[in-house]
Symmetry: C2
Subunit: 152 residues, 2 copies
């Protein structure tokens, strides 16, 4: 039986439960989760859509649309992993301001989520110019939140 | 200017480019990416859908359907990060068999992807019994590949 890792993962992912969403067992698990979301999102957003928008990669309409849809889904995920007490517990670039300026953090997060929805709509048109036009504001929205709330 | 991290992420994510997909700059980047996909997937699959299927978490039809859709998207992602030379470069549970038994690896990966598509269809019905019925085969398909190709 080699399902130790799968069982460990399941245990790591869920212990305390709310009606709507499972919480994280430890701050370390929350930090690992939100960083993982960012890693996957970074490849889809910068490494694929951004590469097409800047000409570093050939435009592939389906790949752009699929990745934009993925970004929309991922953009909803990390927030639950910034709960109280998750400012430390593993190496993290998250600044304390996330927990002391929650309204501003939410505002910038909401702005980003709105822009990536527009990006996905643009990607679905299959038109590179529309993708480029929507990519800039989405990138700026990512950057605004990272500038304000991460130490890198 | 604090966009160092974002630029670094963009650089990390894409350097060599094929017509369809960006490759990884280093084996470490590939390993980090595939592990991140698994972390995000683990929460959606085991920590949310699995928790509902086993009664550890109250059934929420929309949350189940959203997470199943996310799992379908994530299930497509890690494969590109198992390229030649990515068997080492960072701590990894991936066994050498991945690179010496590629047909079997692909077979189990394809099986898993098929099962999670069925899971998503079941989740969309809004019926917990259907979710439970589809969860088992999907979990077994995950486990079969992890048993064969990971060291934990």
């Amino acid at each position: 039986m080699k399902n130790t890792a799968l069982i460990a993962l399941a245990t790591l992912a869920t212990v305390l439960v709310t009606p709507a969403q499972a919480q994280f067992r430890t701050p370390e698990a929350a930090i690992k989760y939100r960083q993982s979301v960012m890693t996957v999102q970074g490849r889809a957003f910068y490494g694929t859509i951004g590469a097409m928008a800047s000409g570093r990669m050939p435009y592939d309409a389906k790949l752009a649309a699929d990745n934009a849809e993925l970004v929309v889904m991922l953009s909803k995920l990390p927030w639950i992993a910034f709960g109280p007490g998750t400012d430390k517990g593993a190496p993290t670039d998250a600044k304390p301001a996330i927990w002391t300026e929650q309204a501003r953090f939410k505002e910038l997060g909401d702005k980003m989520q709105g822009e990536v929805v527009k990006l996905a709509a643009a990607a679905k048109t299959g038109n590179l110019d529309q993708l480029k036009a929507a990519y800039g504001p989405a990138r700026d929205a990512c950057k605004a939140c990272h500038d304000a709330f991460t130490s890198q």
